[in-house]
Amino acid sequence: MIDSPLTHAMKPTKEALAIDEYEDAGGYAALRTAVTEMTPFDVTAAVTDSNLRGRGGAGFPTGKKWSFVPPPGKRTGAAYLVVNADEMEPGTFKDRLLLEQNPHLVLEGALAAAFAIQAQTVYVFVRWAYAKAAQRLTKAIIEAQRRGYIGDNVLGSKFCVRVHVHTSHGRYLCGEETGLLNALEGKRASPRSKPPFPQVVGLLGRPTVVNNVETLCNIPPILRNGAAWFKALSKTGDSGTKLYGASGRVNAPGLWELPMGTTPREIIEKHAGGMKSGYNLRGFLPGGASTDFLTDRHLDVPMDFDAMQKAGSRLGTGTMIVLDDRTCPVAMVHNLVTFFARESCGWCTPCRDGLPWTQNILADIEQGRGRPEDLDRLELHCKLLGPGRTFCALAPGAVEPLQSALKYFREDFERHITEKRCPYKH
């Protein structure tokens, strides 16, 4: 059996798998089984049994998400499946790999998901910067249409489906599912209030499921090989594999499909080739820019949803950013907060006005203009911008690296203020 179902068929040339190559590797068999032999309910049940959790960062059980969609008898009009390919988390580039090198896997997963929720329309929402991905995906859609995987009566079944690629102008908030739906409707990509949840009232007021690219790529293997196989891929309670990544001053930054629950130590030392010579590990953000720092004490904590939470951070997207001992943590946090302050949609006060303020304080500290009371203000902001205080999860995510940096690297902040300069700059 295959132990890296998402990536094993990818070509070393980094070209996209053409439809023949994909079919040769067993592609579209799962879709065929689903539409010809299974009911939509069966597909959802299989995914529920597999315990697949959303790979976009929140880790919500995928089968459960689908089960909230009212069945056709209980809804009027269309339902939609939306593929969230708006990957814009700093340090995260996992969906790009899948979109560019295995677009048919993304498609097959999306089609199976559309069948499960009985949606007749699929929108793939691609970030503008992923031009190559959009191009390859569009080509894959044409190929799949010719083979009868997309269109009326897919593979002779009653299932009819259309797939559209929407290249967005891009904003971090388009990655938030309701912000994405607003953007898809041509509105500002501000998040919506929940309830109603998109599964009931989503795109254009219709039931809609928004799934991450990596999540959907897991669907065909699950349908092909079963829930038990999928669970066995993992090292921990959260099933399947995960695309883990590492960036920063490691010898071989990259992306690897590994069993869920692989430890940071294994990822950094074995797969990323360890720290560059002359650099030591100071800490790392395990799952993108909006997760809390962890340190060398946490190198052996399994990278899954629950263990990361327990350690005080989040799995997030599973693509870690490594901080070394010669990089200024204040500058790093300032860089991250600058990103989030810019990406705030401007809807709610703490995020809109709190993040730029935070950014300004961090800039002052980094440039030697910090004041001792600034640290209290930063800590206060971490609280004021925390969960429940803001309209969506952007600001709480934005202050996660800050609050943990203040915990783990406090002396760096203090030295900036007392020495009135950045001690990392010579």
Binding site: V201, L204, G346, L384, G388
Partner: protein, 898 residues
């Protein structure tokens, strides 16, 4: 009743609202910005945080936004909680990061929600040490001033303008801490309701441009509860003046009538009060062709009184823009037989038809609130946006009722605005717009039908017939119209609280009959049906109750009885009838007396002009289109030169007929009227009488922060002058007295302890029981069935049926004396069908001449396909088109063409 524990004390409340609204209603102060009682909750500003506890054992609790949390039975919350309190203060700190702190020079200062909320949260010291972001302002037209730097991004403006009022040209641009609320470029805001931004905005981004021009600090204004005079809806307003200059109009909340909003004509039309054409002293001519010259007050009274000693009759002409009291006084002066109304024969028949229809209909008479809640609306013949603008706003809200029902089914709370709008994507209530002209409601209508008035009427008859087989069916209807009528009938019959909306605007009595017929037929199958009709003037309904006849009848009477004099009360006859009739009426009698506040064309013809007080200087009563008695009170104290119309007449009466009742105060007239005119029973209930006191005190017209009482006149004397007396009302021209009265009709200003802005409205209690004109006893729908559907429209060979085209800015008399409104009025338009235009070789913007046997008027051409071939639409109420009684068959030709 349910129980809510606030800081461990139990409070009873009615479920169904969010925590914020509930707590405000219970008298608590929770700072808030994005929530508005009419716009509901979206959870943007995060200002209204409170602590919510799971149960009595939970001491930690969680912070929630009170506007986004439903208040439920046995819920436990804390407003005073330290963490919640600190969070609220810090949110103000965030908002203040970019706010310019320009309060001393800000137009909003002293009446600013942001100021109040800042004080309320306890945020005092500024910790933000960085640069503020700045924006460029836009010129948004003559009404609304724009100052974007003050913006705290609460999103209320776009939510009101776009979501609530259907406007399209105000948007939010930009991202993060640089969001910009404005138009894509400078330009006049297109919505008729843009002026509400002034009140909706919690700070000084959108302010009243007309108020700015004669600026005074808001706390120095002397204000009184008032009623709008610019259409028949009678929106409740607050008029504010200082040193005798009326400086602004604000909304006065009325649950049943205008709610929280006004239209721009009502808000900005007020400046006729300060106009250069005001008459401020009695004027008289020495001879017919002489000039009007100032005259002493007592000499003027004496001169009028003399007219009554000639033995020949005096004709009285009342009007729909004068108060019920003034009209009644005139009727008493000249006698009911010689009392007439300043309306042409056609206008008068329509007004009477509407009043009768409303009083006789078996359906209920709809308030604006009823229309806003209607499950389906049929607009028959009336371009409400231009004739009764706030009715259009109510109809727009009615389009959402289906979405509200749908959201309710999904378990979404009725105050969760954004969620309801999301769920309402594919759900729209039925709205039929069947009118002679294009309307601004067409964009939300489910069915649109534009045709000449007779065809609109025929559709109405067909709908009534489809609802009730015994109602007469129009003959020769096309299958399409018949099917449309059946569909509309079905939607109305099935809807919850369906409303039929019509009015005098189409100039067709037949349309009014048809609408009344639909309401009657609808009532048979749906007892929740209601009927709403607009009239032409603010007191048309009231004037009709006094039973006067039209101007043609007035002329007949003047000729027949060899009248000594005609007394015209607050009307320009030339606006209301054929100039030949007006001219005859003003020349045949030996004397012409005009009581008016403005030197109109009619007043210029008078031998004697008695200067009347406007709504801002007088107290009195109007009856709105629904038949609701509404009292307005003087904001400006009585002045030497002019007086309310009824006061002039009372003085004349006291000389002419010593046996006549002595009317010392407004209440004397009101009581006299109630006993003499059966239809006016109920007028007393419009407002508390002058003897009313709240805790032994009068209601203060001025805020207790009013300054400069002695400084104002310090150039002549520093002694404190006594406050003017007001025997007509329970209000005092003074800062002393009750600041926040409980009685809605006496609310002179919104204020509550700590809340100095108009947002204090959320502390007020609802309306008093409605004082409505009673229905006519024994009347029923059967009478309407006497009406017959007109024949279908057929074009004439060389004439066009010219229909009235109303303009919110331009068609109404008084608001056009306001410079801001006048600046938006265009020259008279004639709208032609493209084929007709081609036949006449008329192109867009060409100068066109429209004429009948006696009149010819110049106008500018517009071409639109919604105009039925053989008909046209012409601006009404413009000087160019005065004297035409549209719809009328007229000749049209390109100016200069043979």
């Amino acid at each position: 009743m349910a129980t809510l524990y606030i800081d461990n004390k139990p409070y009873e409340f009615e479920e169904g609202r969010n925590l914020l609204h509930t707590c405000l209603g219970l008298g608590f102060d929770i700072p808030h910005f994005c929530w508005h009682p009419a716009l509901d909750s979206v959870g943007a500003c995060r200002q209204c945080a409170v602590k919510l506890f799971k149960d009595e054992n939970d001491c930690t609790g969680t912070i929630v936004m009170s506007c986004m949390t439903a208040a439920r039975d046995n819920m436990r919350i804390s407003i005073d909680d330290k963490e919640a309190h600190e969070f609220r203060a810090e949110v103000i700190g965030f908002l203040m990061a970019n706010h310019p702190h320009d309060c001393p020079v800000c137009d909003e200062g002293g009446e600013c929600h942001l100021q109040d909320m800042t004080v309320l949260t306890g945020h005092t010291y500024r910790e933000h040490r960085f640069k503020k972001r700045t924006h460029r302002n836009q010129d948004l037209g003559p009404f609304v001033h724009h100052e974007m730097n003050r913006c705290i991004a609460c999103y209320r403006c776009v939510r009101f303008y776009r979501d609530y009022a259907g406007g399209k040209d105000l948007e939010v641009f930009g991202w993060h801490d640089s969001v910009y609320f404005g138009r894509h470029e400078s330009g006049v805001l297109a919505s008729e309701f843009a002026g509400n931004l002034v009140e909706v905005c919690p700070t000084g981004v959108f302010t009243d441009k007309t108020f700015r021009k004669h600026f005074t600090r808001k706390w120095d204004l002397c204000s009184a509860p008032s009623v709008c005079v610019h259409c028949s809806l009678g929106c409740n307003t607050i008029a504010g003046q200082r040193s005798g200059v009326l400086r602004r109009i604000l909304n006065r909340f009325s649950e049943d009538v205008n709610g929280y909003f006004l239209c721009d004509r009502g808000r900005f039309g007020y400046e006729f009060v300060n106009g250069s054409r005001r008459v401020r002293t009695p004027l008289a001519k020495k001879g017919r062709n002489q000039k009007l010259e100032p005259l002493d007050r007592s000499a003027a009274i004496k001169r009028v009184a003399e007219l009554f000693s000639s033995g020949r009759p005096v004709i009285g002409i009342g009007s729909g823009r004068a108060s019920l009291e003034s009209n009644f006084a005139l009727r008493q002066l000249v006698g009911p037989q010689r009392f007439f109304v300043a309306e042409s024969e056609t206008q008068h028949s329509i007004t009477t038809e509407i009043v009768h229809a409303l009083r006789r209909t078996p359906a209920s008479r709809a308030s604006l609130r009823d229309v806003a809640k209607a499950g389906a609306v049929l607009v028959l013949g009336e371009d409400v946006t231009n004739t009764a603008p706030l009715l259009a706003l109510a109809v727009r809200q009615a389009c959402r009722t289906a979405a509200l029902t749908n959201a309710h089914g999904l378990g979404i709370d009725p105050w969760n605005d954004a969620a309801i709008r999301e769920t309402g994507h594919n759900v729209r209530s039925s709205l039929v717009v069947a009118t002679p002209t294009l309307t601004k409601l067409d964009d939300v209508a489910t069915t649109v039908y534009h045709a000449p008035p007779d065809d609109i009427s025929r559709l109405g008859f067909a709908i009534a017939h489809a609802l009730d087989g015994s109602a007469p069916a129009p003959r020769g209807l096309s299958p399409e119209i018949e099917a449309m009528a059946r569909g509309i009938a079905r939607d109305l019959a099935q809807a919850a609280r369906p409303a039929v909306v019509s009015g005098a605007g189409s100039g067709s009595a037949s349309v009014v009959e048809a609408a009344a017929g639909v309401a009657a037929a609808l009532y048979k199958v749906n007892h929740d049906a209601c009927l709403c009709m607009s009239l032409s003037e603010c007191n048309s309904f009231g004037c009709t109750l006094l039973g006067g006849r039209d101007l043609t009848a007035a002329l007949d009477a003047a000729e027949r009885d060899n009248a000594e004099a005609v007394v015209v009360l607050e009307a320009d006859l030339y606006r209301n009838c054929d100039p030949a009739i007006a001219g005859a009426l003003l020349t045949l009698p030996r004397n012409v007396v005009v009581i008016d506040h403005t030197l109109t064309a009619t007043a210029a013809m008078a031998d004697l002009v008695l200067p009347a007080a406007t709504f801002a200087e007088a107290s009195g009563t109007f009856v709105n289109n629904e038949g609701r008695f509404q009292r307005f009170f003087s904001a400006i104290a009585p002045q030497a030169g002019f007086a309310p119309g009824y006061r002039w007449i009372a003085e004349i009466l006291s000389v002419v007929g010593p046996e006549a009742p002595r009317w010392e105060t407004l209440d004397d007239i009101v009581n006299d009227m109630e006993s003499r005119v059966a239809d006016c029973a109920g007028i007393r209930a419009a407002a508390p009488s002058a003897s009313f006191r709240e805790g032994s005190q009068k209601i203060a017209r001025q805020s207790f922060r009013a300054s400069g009482r002695t400084a104002l006149l310090a150039n002549t004397s520093v002694a404190e002058s006594p406050n003017p007396a007001d025997p007509d009302s329970a209000l005092a021209f003074s800062p002393e007295g009750i600041q926040a009265p409980r009685e809605q009709p006496l609310v002179a200003r919104y204020w509550a302890p700590g809340i100095n802005s108009v947002q204090a409205v959320s502390k007020y209690h609802g309306d008093p029981p409605a004082a409505l004109v009673k229905g006519e006893a024994g009347a029923d729908a059967a009478e309407n069935h006497g009406a017959k559907a007109p024949a279908a429209f057929a074009s004439h060979a060389s004439e066009w049926l010219v229909m009235p085209l109303h303009h919110i800015f331009g068609s109404e008399e008084l608001s056009m004396l306001s410079p801001s409104v006048a600046s938006l009025a265009r020259s008279a338009l004639i709208v032609l069908n493209p084929e007709d235009a081609a036949k006449l070789s008329i192109r867009e913007n060409d100068a066109v001449e429209v004429s009948n046997y006696a009149l010819s008027c110049a106008c500018v051409a517009a071409i639109a396909s919604w105009v039925t071939k053989g008909s046209a639409a012409l601006s009404v109420g413009r000087p160019e088109t005065q004297g035409l009684d549209l719809p009328e068959w007229l000749w049209i030709r390109k100016a200069g063409a043979p």
